[in-house]
Symmetry: C2
Subunit: 245 residues, 2 copies
């Protein structure tokens, strides 16, 4: 339940006067989960008001939602859950096809037990191919390794949105902010010979980094790292970004 | 994982320069859950970075957290969970005693099955008595009914923070924003002969409404309802509120 300040309340009342049916609308029509970790699913709990949209996810990710009853706060009537199969295109919105495929990843943090394999290929971490029948975009916010298979798959991309979590693998350790490498968290870094900038340099696609951690120096407008990424054809996503492909 | 804008990043870097160990600190030392519903527990998932604090809750609320593995994102080493017993004072912070007691409430929304009893008295909805050995404050953000027993209990209150969800029971229905009454959601309204303003009028305590829904007209600075609440000794909480008792 939101606690609105008087100013916000006034804005809401003005909004309600203009859009009498829209006070509790959500601009989302469809939602596709690419990962079951907390930063991909906890946001669902902020969308629980009774506004309709559809959740699309793999069977494994849907099973994870089902195993955590807190997600039942999203009414099944208003927010249906649809299982999507790997490598099987489906219509996600009118005129827009989606297809999910495995990328290297790991079990969500809160499900980890014992040794963690960050090179799993299955339903727990997926990339998405989106197409309107003309242009093709890929959205891959988490990926532990840029494999040759992935590079080959991305050959038809007009635009690629890709995991930009860290600049370098030990960045959080160096900053004194954690004990984990990017690899351990399931993320390939931007820099270095095995990093995303080097490995994806041959693609003809436009490229945008997304899912950028707050330790990543590409956030700094004047950083050498940001300049390097941009010189290599990458944009750094920010709130409000709109891209026409 | 937070996605910080360049401006925020700059602010964080300045903050880090001033407080080199404080970049990921939380100002929370202890947290006490009074309810297992989504608006009381989902915020835990925004506190998951490895910063230490303690969660206190009844056995029933802790069982609910345990049944939703997503909360394991909070490391048990850094964020211990401590069970508190009804009507049994415990030290929550140095110099501060807390005690929880049942108030009328219901099962969390996402656990509802069949007929819902909103008058349950047990571990699922509790009020809190806080004392430093001198002054006494009560914090009761959710309460379905102001019973005679509750009024008697609050006799020693110097200050009361109380459930201010709705002004009147059918407020959300009238606004076209929902099908539920306040009673159905487990909240007594402010107004009316059985409302909190009338029922709690005899207390000598200072009084502040908290947990106020965004449909409640007391948010409007110029509303008659706000004026009425204030004339009857109630303050309306807002972000940044500080009270000295």
């Amino acid at each position: 339940m939101l606690n609105a300040s008087p100013d916000i309340r006034e804005q809401m009342l003005r909004c309600a006067a203009m859009h009498p049916r829209g006070l509790r609308d959500t601009p989302l029509a469809a939602l596709l989960l690419t990962n079951g970790d907390i930063d991909h699913i906890a946001g669902l709990l902020s969308l629980r008001e009774q506004t309709p949209f559809t959740i699309h996810a793999t069977g494994e990710i849907l099973a994870l939602l089902a195993a955590n009853r807190i997600f039942d706060a999203l009414s099944r009537d208003m927010v249906p859950r649809r299982e999507v199969r790997l490598s099987t295109p489906f219509g996600i919105l009118p005129g827009l096809q989606a297809e999910v495929f495995p990328v290297p990843g790991k079990t969500p943090l809160f499900m980890e037990e014992g040794e963690v394999n960050t090179g799993l290929l299955g339903e727990q971490t997926v990339g998405v191919r989106l197409s309107d029948g003309g242009k093709v975009a890929y959205y891959i916010p988490g990926c532990a390794d840029v494999t040759g298979e992935l590079i080959a798959r991305l050959a038809d991309a007009d635009h690629l949105f890709f995991d930009g979590t860290l600049w370098q693998d030990d960045e959080m350790i160096r900053a004194g902010l954690g004990r984990k490498t990017g690899k351990r968290m399931g993320h390939v870094s931007m820099s270095g010979p095995k990093g995303s900038i080097a490995r994806l340099a041959g693609l003809r696609a436009g490229k945008t980094f997304v899912h950028i951690n707050n330790t990543n120096p590409v956030w700094r407008p004047d950083s050498l790292e940001r300049a390097f990424a941009r010189e290599n054809g990458w944009e750094i996503a920010a709130d409000g970004l709109e891209i026409e492909i």
